[in-house]
Amino acid sequence: MMRLQDILSPFYVWKRAFEKPFSIAVLSAPRPGSPTYRGFHQNDIDKCIGCGTCAEICQNVSIDMVPVKEAQDGDSGLRPRIDYGRCCWCALCVDICPTGSLTMSNAYTWVEEGLDRDVRETYCYTPGADPQPWDDEALGYRKPEGYELLHLERVPMPHLAPGERLNSFVEMVKGYSHELAVQEADRCIQCGICTATCPAHMNIPAYIKAIREDKIAEGLKILYETNPLPGVCGRICTRRCEDVCALSHRGEAISIRWLKRYLTDCASAEDYKALLESEIKPLDRKIAIIGAGPGGLSAAYYLAGMGYAVEIFEQNAAAGGMLRYGIPEYRLPYTKLDQDVAQIAALGVKFNYNACIGRDLSFDDLYNRFDAVFVSVGMFEPYRIGIPGDDNAKVISGLQLLSDVTNGVPVDLGRRVVVVGGGNVAMDAARTAKRLGCEVTVLYRRREVDMPADVEEIEEAREESVNFIFQAIPLEIKTADDGSLSFDWGKAEMVQQKPGERPQPILIEGSRENIAADTIIAAIGQGVNYLWMDGEASAKIELKKFRVQADRWGRTADTKIFIGGDMFNPTADAITAIADGHRSARAIDKMLNPPREN
């Protein structure tokens, strides 16, 4: 049934003829994309660290990492190059970028003529490195505030409460449970930036992956490939890897050290045993190692693994060196150290204790009896404060205190203790004294930010109510009438002497203050004891500024003598010593070049 209205109704459209047209004037000037438009990429090339997470998450394989800068610690030198023949503008790369350097502009027009050329090359560029018209575009997609694909916050590590830990030397860090460890390992983006920074170049992404997948035995094996003291390093490593962690740029680094500790803690005896199962062909070569510190133990482990007959000569009654005698038990329980040492001993390494070269044995003898000698005697000679009165019997060194506690020697520090120094030994000494029931004050020449000790250690020392006095220069130690000590110090100001260098503390004229103490602990650094360089064999070795000269493989002027550890490397920490040991082991192997089958 057709109605007249149905015929007339469409003419309604005519009224539109008088309305403003929809058409926009796009023909002359295209509209800009909206302020959050996902257009072509921009990259802040200085902020970018080349971690490759963008390439990892790109499902279209449109991002290649290409070298743009020189590689350095914490920066691979690679930068993302994006192929716009693949990109789908999903912005997952922007969302996940750990540094936040990658963004998108709101530019969207890119046309190319196509005949007789491979446009795949023209539609590729490295944002930030190859100039593009939209490089300075302020608008465009940025990761929305609060929207995060990464987990920037670290899984907190359970600690003993400060009150609890003051009473004993029980290890204060409790360690991750399985859940926490997996949760922490899950944060890792597996970029591998940390591997280069680790002195031992441990394969950190691989063992974190093993934790995530709960493959403990495999993880332990990965650890032992580059580090024979993982249980120790999992506790006291200086963890420079965490400083460069890609996540540390906008959040907190992965707790790489605690994860390593988790691996060693939950590995079973079988897992450890399984590591020893590979058959070692014994070689007819003997190596002597002086010093059973981390460097010596590491060299021993790898040399023994290659088949050498290894003997270690250690001046103390137990292995570990500074790990045992310089680090208090609440940070590194001796049982853990013993476990790692036992694993090395299980390879057939022979330990000679209480054998000090230069005192009990002569270096020449070793030199003649063995095919090569690796020296890592460490730094056990504490420096003196160098002020009047520092020869007082109540002025002891931090190292002295720590090794006495280790050896179970009873120590009487009195009530008030002043610790001089700002390094880790100073912190250890202060906190050990605290555990012995003393009131402890730490005096340091510079500001808190300048302290070489770990931030966490300082923080924990504070929690244990250790007092700090900064910018304090020791002046004199006097003995008071009641037998206690009176320690004079002066206030210092920080002066920038040369641009670019760190400021020096300069004593403010006439400033002089006083603090009373029963014991003063000097922890201002240690030096090397050169007692072992007594005979003819070591004559070739050069010393410069009290340091033995060697190349990065620990090779000295004498082809049979290799050195490593604190006495050699400038950073003087356990992981570097372990790396030295490993490197020297390979250098010794190369030097001796023993005949091997196949």
Partner: protein
């Protein structure tokens, strides 16, 4: 079964297709009268279609295969490509299936924003469909209006999500960001424009004698066909049914919105057009309700475990949502690894454009095949994925 193919009498087809009396005509894939890149193989007698066979596969990319080798987070940008005019349903369903398997609950505000996104996307799709339906019956004017107004909706999307077509806004775990400043006012303006447009469409299209003549009685879907052909969405609502997933099994915050399923009697092209036309009104109303009641503060996203190695617990699930074409569903199977074992997409066009269209096209005038096909609202990419 008896209506699917040419009528059979005494064991022989009434139309002897081998007799060469019938013309074989291809409509598509390169033809203005098909929706997207698919084709119909028509046998015609005079002006009448006696047999229709739908050919699909011109847009097959193997999504289900590609998803097997992409991490869950990496599937999220590709699923929206399954349906170009209304990609958000895919995003939502993929995220919902994943969240179901992971046992996650997303923040309240994200639910509202997702609903807003879905509803806006339905609006854009319906408006474009109205243009397509009128265009298929030769009314280019309405098509011009509708496409322009859809573009205003795309502007809203661009301002909000950063892209016009593929918004990639509903990430697993929530949404990417909130509404920008001043968006509501902009949206209200656009909605107002569409509201006015709808009235004009009523004048020009639904009251148009030509449209009425051609669309009424064309392609009738009867209730007995619903389940036999698996018909869903506006196609059943045009035949008097009230099936609407948003109402029947509410997801997101649809249960907090006030609306009724749109339904029309008749079951022909005209009734289906009317349903969709009224659904635009409904969508406008729902968007206004959402904007009015939506929480403006609160978290938008829960943080998933590291998406680079996110493992989804083993299991299988099916989630559904009401798209403009009806029931859209995702069937996801996880074997506990970092990659989905299987994601099957149930696109409503799958049944509409194949079995149903082949059935309805028989006996239809050749010139009306385009209009009939558009009226079923099919999008080829979701058929073959």
């Amino acid at each position: 079964m008896e209506n699917l193919y040419p009528p059979i009498v005494d064991g022989k087809s009434v139309y002897d297709l081998d007799s060469q009396k019938y013309l074989k005509m291809w409509q598509g894939p390169q033809h203005p009268g098909v929706t997207g890149n698919m084709s119909l193989e028509l046998d015609i007698s005079g002006d009448q279609v006696v047999k229709c066979k739908a050919h699909v596969g011109y847009l097959h990319r193997g999504f289900e295969k590609l998803m097997e080798r992409r991490r869950y987070i990496n599937c999220f940008p590709i699923v929206c490509r399954i349906c170009v005019p209304e990609p958000d349903t895919n995003e939502y369903l993929f995220a919902a299936a994943m969240e179901d398997l992971l046992g996650l609950d997303i923040p309240e505000r994200a639910k509202w924003l997702r609903t807003l996104n879905l509803e806006l996307s339905r609006l854009a799709s319906f408006v474009m469909w109205l243009g397509g339906q009128s265009g298929a019956f030769g009314m280019g004017t309405v098509a011009q209006w509708c496409l322009a107004h859809r573009d205003y909706v795309l502007d809203l999307f661009e301002e909000w999500t950063g892209a016009r077509i593929y918004h990639m806004y509903m990430t697993p775990g929530g949404v990417r960001g909130g509404l920008p400043e001043g968006w509501d006012a902009h949206a209200e303006k656009v909605l107002d424009g569409i509201y006015k447009l709808l009235d004009e469409i009523r004048h020009v299209m639904f009251n148009n004698a030509i449209f009425k003549q051609r669309a009424k009685g064309l392609g009738v879907i009867t209730p007995d066909m619903f389940d036999r052909f698996g018909i869903v969405g506006p196609n059943v609502r045009g035949s008097g049914s009230t099936r609407d997933i948003r109402k029947d099994t509410p997801y997101l915050i649809y249960d907090q919105l006030d609306f009724e399923a749109v339904t029309e009697q008749g079951g022909d092209v005209y009734a289906r057009a009317k349903v969709r036309w009224r659904e635009v009104y409904q969508s406008i109303d729902l968007i206004r309700q959402i904007l009015k009641n939506m929480p403006r503060k609160g978290p938008l996203h829960i943080t998933l475990p590291n998406v680079l190695h996110l493992k989804v617990p083993a299991g299988e699930t099916y989630v559904r949502a009401e798209s403009t074409r009806g029931e859209y569903g995702y069937y996801m199977v996880s074997d506990g690894s970092e990659y989905p074992r299987k994601v099957t997409v149930r696109g409503p066009s799958y049944t509409h454009a194949m079995a149903l269209l082949e059935h309805l096209a028989v006996g239809v005038n050749t010139a009306d095949v385009a209009g009939l096909m558009v009226s079923l609202h099919t999008y080829p990419p979701e058929i073959e994925r």
